[in-house]
């Protein structure tokens, strides 16, 4: 499965990057291709390409603030959670993503 997503927290210093790390390692551990863009104080990093978004089976938005460029994900299956959920239960979140994809395909 191909997963892409965005992590963004209120201050953009810590939670954003921890959520990214947790999600990417949980996704890889479950055997998926996963890439999480971060929108923090430093700006956008690991920016998703339109190709990556196009190919993704599902989008995970782990955000506490408005996502910049949200329109990029229009029409895609999307799971929206807080950064806290992504940090606390990354494996559960990946499992949820798997369920959503299998149910709807």
């Amino acid at each position: 499965m191909k997963i892409v997503g965005v992590a963004a927290c209120t201050v953009g210093i810590a939670h954003t990057y921890i959520a990214q790390e947790k999600l990417e390692s949980a996704g890889k551990k479950a055997g998926h291709e996963i890439s999480i863009e971060t929108q923090g104080t430093i700006g956008i990093e690991n920016e998703l390409s339109s190709e990556q978004i196009e190919e993704a089976d599902i989008i995970i938005l782990a955000t506490d603030v408005k996502v910049s460029g949200k329109e990029r994900f229009e029409g895609k299956r999307t799971i929206q959670v807080s950064t806290e959920v992504a940090m606390k239960s990354p494996n559960k979140l990946i499992k949820k993503a798997e369920e959503v994809v299998t149910q709807q395909s």
């Binding site: 210093i13 990057y17 959520a19 990214q20 790390e21 430093i42």
Partner: protein, 150 residues
Amino acid sequence: MEITEILNDHTIVTNMNFKDKHDALCGLSQLLLENEYITNVESFLADVYAREKVGQTGIGNYIAIPHGKSDFVNEIGVAIGINNSEISWETMDGKGVRGIILFAVGNDNEGAKNHLKLLSLFARKLGNDEVIDKLLKSVKTEDVKDAFAN
């Protein structure tokens, strides 16, 4: 660019006996002041507490990452305290906290892109369970730095 460049031997303490959250925040802020990362403890702490109100900074696994963007920050930096006993904190897993990582970031970060980048890479490490295990076992400053190396 090494992640450990963001760390400073003088702002890392181990075997501490902070008695509660406020004690830990004051102690670590004092280190940031002494090493000229911040200009005023009280004002900096007010910004840190403002962030505490927004949501939990206890990220689970006995780690807390209090932080604030503050006008009273001179230079981007981190203070780390490893406490001997658990102190109570608002955490995502309901447990207490033994490792406290206090982030100091200014409101104006023009010209600080390098440091911000390092700080983001450093934060990312905190999402890695192995790093956290090593960090909590640290008995001296060098152990803390080792936990974040490579």
